[in-house]
């Protein structure tokens, strides 16, 4: 009755089960997409403007001549191009994104809506301060939240991302050391071998020598190992807490004390702050400076690699050296200090053109207001609970490098359980793609062989974690059973098979260029 058109309603005998090619190369929703330089046209534009009347340029003799080399697309073509590209991407909204150290939590759309209010998005950084009082109020309120959550004295908001925050914090330390007349002697920064690469890179950028602190056999840094390296040349330590193995540094208070006793400073990499918000305050632990990745802990979107925001909270000892600009109360509301000579304190300078990542400040404050102090504490507890739940689900099957003990917000495994299977950490990660997951962080931290760092965040439900654990167990058992093809050829179902990174680096092609016309065969 329902089907009088003769349309088959079941797969039937003729159903195609083999992986057949298609004429277009497309596979249903998975569309191949050319570069705009191949599909666009030099004479096309998707934006309508009238030519100015009576155009008489005042450009001296510096007018641009000839083609720029930028093709255009009409609006429908452009929309389709970028939507098709988007469909080749995995995001948090697609599925579980357990990328350790990156805190891929839910990005609430309320925060997007707030950041787009014209009073925030359509305001220029150099408008008269009387016309931006609400913007300064927001920065002031965000500062109050950050200072309260961390137990520190003040905050420098302007760093544009985590590594920029590290740079800001280390510059404040250098300025404090210089102010004491110790700039010539205190030239060494201690960095644990498990640290993010940005830490040693930051220290080296401003002329510090980097000395590596070995990790203990349990994945943490011992105060004795730090004391062994502290000398009159020590400027600071750069220590991540919770550390990159997902562990809270148990001797952190003693480490801070040892540094302070030696006249040195404690820089804390705050990338993993999400584990302890509302549970413990870095200020109580002896930290002098710590950046906060608003794009991790406070959920401003990662956006495919940015933009981030890396405010640095400072202890009383470093607060006077915070860079310009910053907000202070003035005679008529809030005002901005934009130049060192107008500051009562001793700013070390300026690290970016304007006031930092306002768009991220709005999103982060929206997150904080939504959660409240109770919600932020709950979020940290759930993040830690979820990581331990995964750890518990996989223990016995996948090896934990530092034994079966609780972790913070991320669970670390090594590859010793894959020994003699012919499957590497990389293979295992690529097989996770086929199961619909973004792989965990792999081969980091460097102190663990074949590391797999799993950070589920608080955004995952129990049922989501249960399915993830079941999928991971199935993969792990398959690896141990010797089903290596499931791994070494993976991913099988992604828009691309494994990509040749060696080839990309050996002969770098970093931009599109017109293809050379095919030459006639040699006569």
């Amino acid at each position: 009755m329902l089907n009088r058109q003769g349309r088959p309603t079941s797969a039937g005998d003729g159903a195609i089960t083999a992986d057949t090619g298609t004429f277009t190369g497309n596979r249903a929703l998975m569309q191949e997409e050319a570069l705009i330089f191949e599909s666009g046209r030099y004479e096309t534009t998707g934006v309508d403007f009238d030519e100015p009347e009576n155009f008489s340029p005042r450009l001296g003799d510096l007018e641009r001549e000839g083609d720029i080399g930028l093709p255009g697309l009409s609006e429908p073509e452009a929309m389709r191009h970028f939507v098709r590209l988007s469909q080749k991407n995995y995001g948090i909204d697609t599925g579980l994104f357990p990328l350790g150290s990156c805190t891929m939590k839910h990005n609430a759309r309320l925060n997007e809506r707030m950041a787009r209010l014209p009073g925030f998005a359509d305001v220029h950084p150099l408008q008269p301060v009387s016309s931006v009082q609400g913007a300064l109020e927001l920065m002031d309120e965000l500062s109050r939240y950050l200072v309260t959550l961390t137990g520190m004295t003040s905050v420098a908001l302007s760093p544009k991302a985590g590594a920029h925050g590290e740079l800001c914090g280390m510059m404040a330390i250098k300025a404090a050391i210089d102010a004491k007349g110790e700039g010539e002697t205190r030239r060494t920064v201690l960095v644990p071998e498990s640290a993010h690469g940005t830490n040693p890179a930051t220290a080296a950028l401003i002329g510090f020598k980097v000395k590596t602190v070995p990790a203990d056999t349990d994945g943490t840094v011992r105060v004795q190992a730090v004391k062994d390296l502290i000398g009159p040349d020590t400027a600071a330590i750069m220590l991540t807490n919770p550390n990159t193995c997902g562990l809270f540094e148990p001797e952190i208070v003693e480490i801070a004390q040892a540094l302070h006793d030696a006249g040195a400073y404690f820089y804390c990499d705050g990338a993993n702050f999400n584990a302890i918000v509302g549970k413990a305050r870095p200020g109580d632990l002896g930290v002098d400076a710590m950046h906060i990745n608003l794009h991790k802990t406070f959920s401003t979107p990662h956006g495919g690699g940015g933009p981030g925001s890396g405010p640095v909270v400072l202890s009383q000892r470093l607060a006077p050296y915070a860079p310009v600009p910053f907000v202070i109360p003035g005679a008529e509301g809030l005002t901005l200090v934009e130049h060192e000579q107008y500051a009562e304190e001793k700013p070390f300078g300026r690290i970016t053109a304007f006031h930092g990542q306002m768009g991220m400040y709005v999103r982060a404050l929206s997150y904080m207001l939504s959660h409240g102090s109770d919600g932020m504490k709950q979020a940290s507890e759930d993040a830690v609970l979820n990581a331990n739940y995964i750890r518990a689900g996989l223990r016995g099957l996948m090896s934990q490098p530092f034994g079966d003990k609780p972790c913070m917000h991320e669970a670390l495994f090594d590859d010793s359980w894959l020994k003699d299977t012919g499957v590497s950490t990389l293979d295992f990660a690529k097989a996770m793609i086929d199961e619909g997951y973004h792989p965990m962080t792999m081969y980091f931290p460097l102190v663990v062989h074949g590391a797999m760092l799993v950070e589920p965040t608080e955004s995952e439900s129990k049922s989501s974690l249960d399915l993830f654990v079941a999928a991971m167990r199935d993969l792990a058992q398959a690896a141990k059973r010797g089903e290596t093809e499931r791994f070494t050829g993976a991913p099988y179902h992604a828009p691309r098979k494994r990509l040749d990174e060696t080839r990309a680096a050996r002969q770098p092609i970093l931009r599109w260029t017109p293809r050379e016309p095919v030459r006639e065969a040699a006569e």
């Binding site: 030099y42 080399g69 707030m114 990309a504």
Partner: protein
Amino acid sequence: MRYLPLSPDDRSEMLAKIGVDTIDDLFADVPAEKLLTEPLDLPRRKGEMEVERILGRMAGRNVAASTVPFFVGAGAYKHHVPATVDHVIQRSEFLTSYTPYQPEIAQGTLQYLFEFQTQVAALTGMDVANASMYDGSTAAGEAVLMAHRVTKRRKAVLSGGLHPHYADVVETLSHMSGDKVVSLPADPRADEDILAAIDDETSCVVVQTPDVFGNLRDLTKIAEKAHAHGALLIAAFTEVMSLGLVKPPGAMGADIVVGEGQSIGNSLNFGGPYVGLFAARQKFVRQMPGRLCGETVDAEGKRGFVLTLSTREQHIRRDKATSNICTNSGLCCLAFTIHMTLLGQVGLQRLARVNHANAVALADALATVPGVEVITGAFFNEFTLKLPKDAAKVVEALADKGVLGGVPYSRLAPDADCDDLLLVASTEVNTDDDRAAYVAALKEVLA
């Protein structure tokens, strides 16, 4: 709490599975006396409506650019961004993805980065561009460090036409790294003798065009002198739209080009996030900072894209890296790429002409106000007025009359002895009415 999926029952079950009694058992490594027992002194959770009210009130205390005659520039510019741009960058797959470390499921990001790099290289007239820096000013700082690596020298010469905030960023970084900077005095009329400042110790000379006063500068002779002394020319810009109409730095001998890309695709955002553009000659590619996206093939020979030359970067090279940058301006690059793709070169050129025509019309109109002198000869969409009064006071008085008239140079550089100079920008958003309002208000303020 609406963002947290676990129920109290879930939590109990999960703790049991883990094998601990309470959540604080998982925090056992935190020194007991440091574990917070009381909630912090901040408000409790709020629903969407309450948050909207609080932030809406704050936003309402700011004057949005689109609500007034608006002529503020000096490093950030009010342009119209097509609706398509904001729609696409909010797609989940772009907004909520990470740095493309797993290229098989990040071809969307990687392909637009490859397109972005190609667009930036074409615009600047350079061989290669990276996948972005934080903003124009930090890109300038990185360019100076890169020049030091290439030349193995440590002295930078900064033009007096460079945006003072950019100069401040370079000076702060150089002071900290122990490198030398020679900053020439403010140069409103673009007549400084920068050639005389270049010697055999010079690593690089940094020149902005259009400069902070709006002057277009011919870089050709500076490049020649720099190269003759073994130094590099770093060209900077704060208004990328100028490249639709003005000779690109690559055609004038620049070795590194840095600039602010905000004007294409990105809102004013009170100063950020923006997108730093960074381009260079091919031979310097292995000294470049930041991420690079490159073309390759997959196991079936299909074209694909990956992050490449990462041995330059901090996660591999650590303290020997070319930069400490990790997170950059990904989504702002996407906005840039979409807007630029919609424009195409014909759209960009036309839009640039509209900008220039509006600025010329404004300059001519303001020049009729008694006591006002336009001191910029050749410019794109920004120029400098010499006023008979303190420019900062004039700007405040104009704001009281509902016109945001520009940036007093003294706000950027209080000690430059340029208190009477006002930087004025005009873009496609300005109308005849805006211009008339500005002229009328300025006449009253100066009367």
